[in-house]
C-alpha cells in the first residue's frame, strides 16, 4: 500500500495513503495516553466527529493541542 508522509505537532510520521485522522493518531507519539485534545488540520479546526471521515493527503499538517495553564 502506498505510504505518505504527514506531520503531527511538527514531527514527520508515515501513514498509509487514504488514512483517516483517527488512524494517523494511533501511530503518533504526540498522542500518547492523552485523552484531552483537539485538532486542527492545515490550520483549520476539525471537530472530533470528523476524525474518522477526514482522509489525509501527503504533506498534511496536524496540530494537536491539549489544555494548559494560561493568562
Amino acid at each position: 500500500m502506498t505510504q505518505i508522509s504527514i506531520r503531527i505537532n511538527g514531527e514527520d510520521i508515515t501513514v498509509s495513503a487514504q488514512s483517516s485522522i483517527s488512524q494517523a493518531l494511533i501511530l503518533s507519539p504526540a498522542v500518547g495516553d492523552e485523552k484531552s485534545f483537539v485538532i486542527a488540520l492545515n490550520q483549520n479546526f476539525i471537530p472530533r466527529s470528523q476524525y474518522d471521515c477526514t482522509l489525509l493527503k501527503a504533506g498534511d499538517d496536524i496540530e494537536l493541542l491539549s489544555p494548559m495553564a494560561g493568562g
Partner: protein, 274 residues
C-alpha cells in the same frame, strides 16, 4: 439605624459582573499560568474568590504530565473557563484556536488575543477587530484584549463585542495603569459596557485604582502567581477589587488645588491672640 445609602451600595455590590448573558459575583478574573505548582495555583484561585479563570491550549509533551495535572486542578476549581488565544498573530490563527477551545472546554467564552508586536505584546487592532467580527457571527462570546484606544474600542463594540478588555500596561510588566486619561475616556464613552482591565496590573493598589474609576472588573495573572506568597496576594487583590468597587459606588470626592480645613473654623481656640 437604617442607612439609606447602604441600600444603594449593597445593591450595587450585589449586582455583580455581567459578561454577555452570565453574571458573576466576583469581579476578579485570574490566570492559571506561572505558578510554582498546580497545588499553589488551585489554592490561589480559591483565595481570590474568582469565578472565571483563563487557560490555554498548547502542544502536549507526552513525556511531561504537568499540563494534565493543571487541567485536573482547573476542572476541580468549579470556575467558569475563559480560554485564550494567546500566541496568535493573525485573525485566522485566533479563529481556529477559538474553535478548538470551544470544543475542548465546552464554552462560547473566548479571550481574544491577537498580538501585533512581540516586543511589548501589544494587540494588533486590525486583526483583533477582524477576528471579533467573525467569532461573534459564529456564536462566540468574545472578550477582546485590546489597547486603550477609544476608536478601537468603538470598532469592537460595532463588531458585536459586549465586553472590552483594554490593557492597563503590557502583559507581565506590572506597571499598572499607563494611560489613566485614555481609560477614563473609554469608561465615560461606554458607560453601560462591561469593561475589564486586562494585563499590566502589578499591585492591588493599581487594581483598586481601576475599580475606583468605574471599571467593572480586573483580569490578572503574573502579580499573583509571582508573589512570594500567591495565596495571600490573591486575597489582597480580592479585597482591593471589592474596595475599589465600593468606593466607586460610594462616589469619590472631587480633588482640588488648594487646601481646605476639615475641622470647622468657627470657634477656633486662641483666635483672639492673633
Amino acid at each position: 439605624m437604617h442607612n439609606i445609602y447602604n441600600d444603594g451600595i449593597n445593591q450595587g455590590m450585589k449586582e455583580g459582573l455581567t459578561l454577555y448573558d452570565q453574571t458573576f459575583s466576583s469581579r476578579l478574573l485570574v490566570g492559571t499560568a506561572l505558578y510554582q505548582s498546580p497545588d499553589i495555583m488551585a489554592q490561589a484561585i480559591a483565595a481570590s474568590g474568582s469565578e472565571m479563570i483563563t487557560l490555554s491550549l498548547r502542544r502536549q509533551d507526552p513525556s511531561n504530565n504537568q499540563g494534565h495535572t493543571i487541567w485536573q486542578h482547573i476542572q476541580q476549581s468549579g470556575c467558569a473557563l475563559l480560554p485564550n488565544t494567546a500566541g496568535c498573530h493573525s485573525a485566522q490563527e485566533a479563529i481556529t484556536l477559538a474553535q478548538m477551545s470551544r470544543e475542548m472546554f465546552a464554552t462560547d467564552f473566548i479571550k481574544l488575543e491577537v498580538i501585533g508586536d512581540d516586543y511589548n505584546l501589544q494587540p494588533d487592532p486590525f486583526e483583533t477587530v477582524k477576528a471579533a467580527e467573525i467569532l461573534i457571527k459564529k456564536g462566540f462570546k468574545v472578550l477582546p484584549y485590546c489597547t486603550d484606544d477609544l476608536v478601537l474600542c468603538q470598532r469592537l463594540l460595532e463588531a458585536g463585542c459586549q465586553v472590552l478588555m483594554p490593557w492597563g500596561s503590557p502583559i507581565g510588566t506590572g506597571k499598572g495603569l499607563m494611560n489613566p486619561y485614555n481609560l477614563q475616556a473609554i469608561r465615560e464613552r461606554f458607560p453601560t459596557t462591561s469593561l475589564i482591565i486586562d494585563a499590566g496590573i502589578g499591585k492591588p493598589s493599581q487594581a483598586m485604582a481601576a475599580m475606583e474609576m468605574g471599571f467593572d472588573g480586573i483580569l490578572l495573572n503574573t502579580a499573583i502567581a509571582k508573589a512570594h506568597n500567591p495565596i495571600l496576594m490573591a486575597q489582597a487583590f480580592a479585597q482591593a477589587v471589592n474596595g475599589g468597587r465600593q468606593a466607586y459606588l460610594a462616589g469619590l470626592m472631587e480633588s482640588r488645588q488648594t487646601a481646605s480645613p476639615s475641622t470647622p473654623i468657627l470657634g477656633t481656640p486662641f483666635w483672639q491672640q492673633k
